[in-house]
Amino acid sequence: MNLVLQRTHPAVRATLVGAYVLCVEWARVSIQAQPGLAIAALVIGGVALGAVALGTPADRLGLGTSRIAFRLLGGLALGAVLLLPAAARSSAVPILPAGLAVAAIAVSIGEELAFRGALYAALDELGGAPLAIGGSTVVWTAAHALSHPPAFLGAVAAAGLLLALWRWACRDLVAPIIGHVIADLAL
């Protein structure tokens, strides 16, 4: 399917990828609410999101081992920024049960591969960096509309914008993945 996607017009590809990741995220959130299905929904949702990046060359996704020290360091820095507000406000610090850790890692990696990876690449090809940054942030925010109360969507959008800007400025997806995983494990 992904190989077919790669041969379609960039506009069609971007639309299909955007619709796919939205559907997966909304389905994940709906299934997650069912008794006993939370962890399975998170893991399967993460894998389904990551699957959309299959077939896209690693360099177009921003993946690679060049400048690896810089990428790893960037991931730690992004994680620190994402956690900073919660760390400064000790009253809001949750404790994530260990059983959810694997699920948190799966969904974080899947989301980055889907939003800042495949969707960003498709939008970048269609309209360049501004469309890729703006479009991936809008779809990312919409994808979280079911799981987050409206008051939280500003913070979600700002996080998406920060991660997308890193993806653009450093042509790197490794750091957003690391930062996102750290933030999800801690929150």
Partner: protein, 237 residues
């Protein structure tokens, strides 16, 4: 330089946006709404007292309907099957869910939720699933406890498979007082936890910042030397 400035602006925007809502960025693992405490722990910050709930269950042909009773805050829900009550001679069964205004801590048990009293105008004759939500500020409970009187004795009902994050489920055979917790003689269940803890997260962030600064300086020097080397090599050519 422009890219760096944009990144810094985005990071600042995020911190400001996240500061306006607690905890900031999260991916929907924890309940976004804060727990409403009868007796809030020190780290809870602003708190709204929990509220009661009430439901009237219709009785048709001597059999009570299926229904759920819950408190105002959605922190406790009990689901009744059809015929869950002995409703002989009744047309309605009234169920009340009331948070206990005090917080007794019986010996050997550490409660991590409020204590709720559930009463009904007819005796319960079928087991009913009870769901308790717990706060993100407390360790996960290992049991739901039941008592006929808040002074005790408290009896563990066990918990069924976790249905949703930060909730525990048990089967209740009778109505009375319910709370989730863990044996206080043992370490809090759920350990090792990932992240969390009012002291852990600031430490994690501090370590991340120190790592970034300590590793970033030599990395920046290295990159600068490399770029100088490239310029000199280009000059030689």
């Amino acid at each position: 330089m422009r890219r760096l400035a944009l990144l810094a602006a985005a990071a600042t925007t995020y911190v400001l946006a996240a500061w306006m809502v607690a905890p900031g960025f999260y991916d929907g693992f924890g309940p976004p709404q804060p727990y409403n405490w009868t007796c809030p722990p020190a780290q809870a910050g602003a708190n709204t007292k929990p509220g009661p709930g009430h439901v009237d269950i219709k009785v048709v042909g001597g059999i009570s309907d299926a229904a759920s009773a819950y408190d105002r805050d959605g922190q406790i829900v009990i689901g009744f099957l059809p015929g869950a009550f002995d409703a002989t001679g009744k047309t309605v069964v009234s169920v009340d869910v009331t948070p206990l205004p005090t917080c007794p801590q019986p010996p050997g048990i550490q409660f991590v939720t409020n204590i709720y009293q559930i009463t009904a105008s007819a005796p319960l004759v079928k087991s009913s699933d009870l769901v308790l939500r717990y706060s993100t500020l407390e360790p996960a409970p290992s049991d739901i406890y039941f008592a006929s009187d808040p002074a005790g004795p408290w009896k563990g009902l066990g918990i069924a498979q976790q249905s949703q994050p930060f909730t525990v489920v048990a089967s209740a055979k009778q109505l009375g007082y319910f709370a989730a917790g863990y044996p206080s003689a043992s370490p809090p269940p759920g350990t090792p936890t990932v992240g969390g803890g009012s002291q852990t997260l600031p430490i994690i962030v501090a370590v991340l910042i120190v790592l970034v600064v300590l590793a970033g300086i030599p990395l920046a020097i290295l990159r600068r030397r490399q770029s100088r080397g490239d310029v000199e090599e280009d000059g030689d050519v």
